[in-house]
Every structure is written in C-alpha cells, then in structure tokens.
Amino acid sequence: MRPLSLLKNIGRSPLALLLPVLLAAGATGVFAQDAVPASYEEAISGAEGARFVVDNLWILIAAALVFIMHLGFSTVETGLTQSKNTVNILFKNVFIVCMGAFTYALWGFNAMYPGEFNGIFALGSPIPDSFAEADIVANMTSQYAAYTYWADFIFQAMFAATAATIVSGAVAERVKLPGFMVYATLLVMFIYPITGSWEWGGGWLNGGLDSLFGNGDGSAEFIDFAGSSLVHAFGGWAALAAVIILGPRTGKYLSGGRVRPILGHSMPLTTIGVFMLFLGWFGFNGGSVLSADPQAVSLVFVTTAMAGFCGGLTAAFTSWAVLKKPDLSMALNGILAGLVGITAGADTTGVWGSCAVGAIAGAIVVFSVIFFDKIKIDDPVGAISVHGVCGIWGTVAVGIFGGGVFLTQLVGTLAVSAFAFTASFALFYLVKVTMGVRVSKEEESGGLDLGEHGQEAYPDFQTSTPQM
C-alpha cells in the first residue's frame, strides 16, 4: 500500500527489535532493476524479469482476492439484516463496488497518489487509456514499483469501494437509496483519497508525526501497513457520522432503555460472508507487501490468519461469558475484528503478537457492540465496532506489538478517524437536506425491497396477476 520511497524509509527504520522482519519487508523494494531496460522484452527477461513477472502476478491475484471481499461484505450485511431489505442491501453493495472502481479510475487514483503535492489535498484526474511502449518500459524499474501501472491501479481500485461498503452496513434497513448512492459516490470519489494521500500518497501523515514524536529520522513514523486506519477506521467512523444523522431503525430503542433486537435473517449468509472476507484479506494484507517477497508475504499470511482466528476465539468466549450463550454472530464479528486489528501491523508484528492483537480485538468488539446499543447508535451489522473501533485499536497496537511509536500511531489514527467522521457528517447532512436520507415509516415497516426496488428477495409464495 505504500509507494516505494516509503518502503525505503521503513527499511532504514532503526527498530532493532524487529530488524529481521523489517529487513524482509524492506527488501521488497530492493529488486535490482534500477536502470531503465532497453525494451519490454528485456524488462521481462533474465532473473530480474522473472522476478518482476512473479511480483506483478501476485499483485493481480491479490486484487482478485480483494475483489471477492465485496461479496463478503454483501452477504455479511444481508445475513445480519431482515429479509425484507435484502434486495436493497445487495443492490447498494453491487452499486458501490461498480461505482467505486469507476470513480477511482476517473479521479481517485491520481488524487490519492498525486506524486509531489502539498501533503494535504490533491486534485484527481482520469487514468490514461493506454501507454506508449516507452512509457511502459520506463515504468518497469524499481523507481516505480515491482509491478505494472495497471496492476497498481486495479489493486488500489478494489480497495476504494470498501469505505462506502462499511457505511452501507451501518445505515442498512432505513436509508433511502438515491441519497445513499450520491453520498457513497462522493465519499469514495473525493473523501477516501484525501486521507489515503496523507499517508500512502506521501502526504503530511507520512513523516509529519515523525518530526513531532521522534527526531525526524523515520524512527517515529506513522505506520499503517494495509489500512487499519486508512481503510477500516475511515469507513467505521464515516459510518458513525451517518448513523447519528440517520437515527436508529424504528422500534429498536424503547422507553426505559430497553432495546428490541432486530434479528438478522440468515446466519449461513453471514458466515459465507466472513469466510469470503477472510479469504480476501490474504490479498488485502498480503498484496500490500507490494511484491511477492517471500519472507514478508509469508509472515503477513501468518499474522493475518492468526489474528483472525484469535479474534474469533476471544469473541466467542467473551460473548459466552458476558451474554451467557456462545453467540455465532459475535464470533464472526470477532474474526473480522481480529483481521481489522492486524491490518496496520501485519508485516511488523510477530506471530504471538498478532495473536494478542487479534484476541484483544475480538474481546473489544463484543463490548463495543453492546456499548453502541447502550448509547442508541443503531448499527445492524456492527460495522462501527468492527472497522471503526478495531481499526483504531489495530493502529495503536502497532505502537505496542508492531515496532511503531504509540503516540504517533494514536495521533495518526485519530486524525484519519476525525477527518472521516467530519467529512462524512458534512456530506451526509448535505444529502439529507437536499435529497433526504431516510425512508418513510411505512416503507421501513414494509421493507426497502418493495419500497425502493419493487422486488422481493425471496418471492416464492407470490400470487400475482400479469398487467397489460
């Protein structure tokens, strides 16, 4: 997820404790292809060429894995909500992934990776349609990356929609479709690339905190390997803002502090979703190594998996202890919490550290879900807890288990979260006053599938008369 220059900084980072690991990670930038090759043929021949082909292939496969996470989000959200809102949730998710990637090509990619810029905000622009041969070859050096421009783009594009997808789950079952579509498009197109550029685009966050909390030699830099903050906390806190404006589902919070749970309609769908997300995470984190470097990618696979597994275990046992029964939906949320948690430090945390990060995330998420229900923040799928709260946890955990500096991590993640919250609040509010964001009570009770789409998700016992 970081341009090469940043990787080099990290390679120089004097975190003696984790030296070998970092060395491995840093090594991703060291494939020795510094001179511009004479031709494309040359660029892909020889041992360095073969290495380039592998690295590039891995980024592409990782992009495909991240793609399937969108199926994961779709089915997790569908499973945890009522059947009468199923078409709506699926439509929103399908729309977001399509629109997210399209606008990323149109604006986002260049806004997020602008090259030289003021460090805070850059204008976007469409990616090129194709390249002249000279440009293709010129890009195939270690100055650029261990992969092609296209691989770079598609990997990043698959991430882009994630932020809005996270919000989609939190506002489910009462948000008006057109308003949400406008909001999600603007969020993904314009807001997500801003915080992205702060760190991965080489902006102020990447370095700024180093001088503040360290001595500017890179040793106190902000670390967010694959996006605990830049993707997950961003989505989670943007979701909180939207939920605050939108309000809870009708009938969820009753007088006297009583909560009426609104049960999801299919645990198999939710489970399918979590497994798909887990699978995709190997690409999300593994691909963020930005090469197929064997030490780094292998370690990332192990830390990612262990954090997810341990998150599932602690969430299952925590829910059992606190809520008396082992709650499958909590165990599943716990797996996601562990995965979100390790995302910031998947390359610099040791195996047992990753177990700890995941285990703590799994416990956090149970209490967080309960807490948000207590304060009447209605989040049907637990998105704020999983992505927002555990995104912050994961980022600061790098300051504990992953070789980062605690204060840097804390300030960095809060900066991203605060910006996501504020921008989302402004945007959602704007949409509210212009187009409206909430469906009518009747529509909510009858279901958004009929109200927004005139379609049912499971229309089997449907008796009907054909028209005209």
């Binding site: 005139g454 379609q455 008796t463």
Partner: protein
C-alpha cells in the same frame, strides 16, 4: 365460547397481543396469511414485465374466549390493530361448541 378470528396488518401484531393481554386473554394462535381485499396490491416490474401483487401479507389470530370476554376482546383487537388506513383487517366471531385442554383433559371454559 367463541372463536374470535382477526386478520390484521403484520406489524400490528405486538400491539394487539398487548391489548389482548390487558383484557385477560391468555392464549392465542397466530398464522401468517396472505390477504386479498379492498386494499389493492402494488404493481411491480420484474425484468421488464409488469405485474400486480394481489395478495398482501397479513397475520391471522385465532382466539378462543368465553362468551363474556368476546366484546372486550374485539375491542382490544380494534385498539391494537387500527391505523385508520385501508387494509386494517377484519374480525370474525364464530361459535365454539367444545374446548379441551390436551394436557389436563379440562373441558369448556376452563380449558381456554
């Protein structure tokens, strides 16, 4: 004894149940049904073809009550189920000749 059969809007079930509890009804049996009536179904389009959903989801409640409770019971249902909009539903009262509690063999009013 009478069988009070009410067909109501599904999201009103809970209010009706509470209203019934208040007047002393202790048992009822609920069925998911589809209703056809004055409230016209909605016209939808599926893959380009228009069609009307004629039957709307309703909930049917069967309540066996002693004769003296019928009026109160009907009143409670009306209170709980009314929205004032078309499609609120109907209440039918049917005679019951005998009632038996399976567990205890009790018969008549005490079985309800």
């Amino acid at each position: 004894m009478k069988l009070v059969k009410a067909i109501i809007k599904p999201f009103k079930l809970e209010e009706v149940k509470e209203a019934l509890s208040e007047v002393g009804v202790e048992g009822m049996t609920v069925t998911e049904v589809k209703g056809f009536g004055r409230q016209k179904g909605h016209t939808e389009i599926y893959r380009g073809s228009e069609y009307t959903v004629d039957f709307l989801p309703k909930v049917m409640i069967d309540i066996a009550v002693t004769d003296d409770l019928v009026a109160k019971c009907v009143e409670a249902i009306k209170t709980g189920a009314r929205t004032g909009k078309i499609g609120d539903g109907k209440i039918f009262v049917l005679p019951i000749e005998e009632a038996i509690r399976i567990r205890t063999d009790e018969q008549g009013d005490s079985a309800i």
